[in-house]
Amino acid sequence: MLGEGILKGMAETARNFFGSYVSKERLTTVQYPEEREPVAENARVFPFLVYDEGMKDGERPEWEAGLRCTSCQICEKECPPKCIFIEKSKDKKPDAFGKAQYYPVRFDIDISVCMSCQICVEVCPFDSIKMDTQFELATDDRFGNLMIDVQELAKSDSYYHSIHPTEASAIDQHRAETKVMLAAKTKAAAESAAAKAAAAPKPPEQQAGQGA
């Protein structure tokens, strides 16, 4: 019958109208600056550098001492729009596993060029550059503030846990295992070196004994 569809449509909109006062699914507005929708766990906006907390260096601040980045420059080379600018240091400092590593003297990312492709994250061998989920990054200075430097990029491991908990726990577990394995390795190496040192002076005495 003509007009039936209109009446059904009007019933549906009336349901929408009255339902918007009672149910959340019929009023989906998020009133932006006051309310925010929670960001998904695998959201990605702009990279940041992870630093391990608790690394005391005496001379360097915590974020610089714990920075996982070893300035290998792989992310700089793999970045498609070439927005990462790294300057390697001349000396080496110990990292979280105790090994002496280079560190980045300058690590800038150009925020107006970065396209959030996550390739830098995928290629980093040290789990040091990860994607942040903060999107309110607008600035009003076009010429200075669009190049984000290493201090602004450095964020703690506990922050990383808070935004990507599953990834961060997996990485921490892997790092703990690596630490255990390295500790075992160094212990085994130390034991074999001690055994070698104990065995080493003997041969010249024996030789002298045998020669005479």
């Binding site: 003509l2 209109i6 009007m10 909109t13 929408n16 109208f17 918007s20 019929r26 009133q31």
Partner: protein, 395 residues
């Protein structure tokens, strides 16, 4: 005591006016009385327009699963003030090749013609501005003048989209004006008078507590539905808002208007909506009469404005529900379905009048109206099978 309170609150505006006029000499009284009523209408309906704008935006928002404007005041209630300030302070841009005089006059003619329509609406018992014998005819005459204003707006802008929008708007308004007149004519046939207060008086009777409104008769219901369709089309309101659809024709005939002139067009459209709803309430819904005989103590003007606002809410509801009709679809609808049905409704009204009172006329007229609706819909609103397209000018 209760009866005098009811009567006084019903006639409160008349009593207020008489009290104010008592301060003036005899000679000035008729002029000041008319002036006072005119000033009240000119101030009150734009205030109602401001309220309706905020209801529309919030109502449409809720229908569309979102909040409406809610920043300007508590729950966004001061939004019309912000809109008013914006439209008053915007620069008034007139295109250089536009016809300056006609471009300026078009919104003025529109608003004047629409305001004139309020002069004959009975807004309460004894509350008509002018009690004319041909009140209904006057109303439709003023409605016809609005079409001229729309055309003037579109043509004077020297813009092909405006002109196209104006032509479409005028074609639509003329087609549906015929239907509006014919639906109203059925009421005139039964009442025997063109005067709107008399039409309300004729509906102000009750039997078994229920009112004698014309919408409760078979021809009245059909007439009201056709009237509502025609009213939606006359005021260029969704789903008939192709001439001013933002996504179709920029803004149709008011593309080249900015600032206060655009606000005048907007005002004119909403005022036309008010006056046509008021007329619909008067013709079919019993004007200022109460819905049940035990509710007659409520002041009559409250009933009139409740019916008006109810019609406005239905307009907003329709806007939120229906997609826009294409120009050929709406013209087809008018000339092929609504007009024949309205003519048939006139015949059924005549039959109703000349059959005696009783259950027979109810049965016969209801059956005729229902059968006509279903049959005409099946015949005229069939899906067309299209032949290969032929072009008139391109070959």
């Amino acid at each position: 005591m209760f009866a005098t309170l009811a009567r006084n609150s019903d006639q409160i505006f008349i009593l207020l006016r008489d009290w104010l006029l008592a301060f003036l000499p005899m000679m000035l009284r008729p002029y000041v009385s008319v002036l006072l009523s005119v000033v009240v209408i000119v101030c009150f309906f734009p205030a109602l327009f401001a309220l309706t704008v905020i209801f529309e935006r919030k109502g449409l928002g809720r229908i569309q699963n979102r909040l409406g404007p809610n920043r300007v005041g508590p729950y966004g209630l001061l939004q019309p003030i912000a809109d008013g300030i914006k439209s008053l302070t915007k620069e008034d841009i007139v295109p250089t090749t536009a016809n300056g005089f006609v471009h300026f006059l078009a919104p003025v003619v529109l608003v004047v013609a629409v305001f004139m329509g309020f002069a004959v609406l009975p807004m309460g018992r004894n509350m008509v501005l002018v009690d004319m014998d041909c009140g209904l005819l006057f109303y439709f005459a003023m409605g016809a003048s609005t079409e001229l204003a729309v055309f003037m707006a579109g043509w004077s802008s020297r813009n092909k989209y405006s002109l196209l929008g104006a032509m479409r708007a005028v074609a639509q308004m003329i087609s549906y004006e015929v239907i509006l007149l014919l639906s109203g004519l059925a009421v005139v046939m039964i009442t025997g008078s063109l005067s709107l207060p008399k039409i309300v008086e004729a509906q102000n009777h009750y039997s078994y507590g229920l009112p004698h409104w014309y919408i409760f008769t078979p021809w009245g219901l059909a007439g009201f539905v056709m009237y509502a369709i025609a009213a939606t089309a006359e005021t260029n309101r969704s789903p008939f808002d192709l001439p001013e659809g933002e996504s179709e024709l920029v803004a149709g005939y008011h593309t080249e208007y900015s600032g206060f002139k655009f606000a005048l067009f907007f005002l004119g459209e909403y005022l036309a909506m008010f006056s046509i709803s008021g007329l619909g309430a008067t013709l079919f819904l019993g004007g200022w009469s109460a819905p049940f005989s035990f509710l007659t103590w409520v002041p009559s003007w409250i009933w009139f404005f409740s019916k008006l606002m109810l019609s406005i809410f239905v307009f907003i509801w329709m806007r939120g529900t229906l997609p826009r009709l294409r120009q050929d679809q709406l013209m087809n609808f008018a000339w092929k379905f609504v007009l024949p049905f309205t003519l048939f409704n006139l015949m059924v009204t005549a039959l109703w009048r000349f059959m005696g009172d009783g259950w027979l006329r109810w049965a016969v007229c209801s059956a005729l109206v229902a059968a006509a609706y279903v049959l005409m819909a099946r015949v005229s609103m069939r899906r067309e099978r299209f032949a290969p397209r032929s072009y008139r000018y391109a070959e």
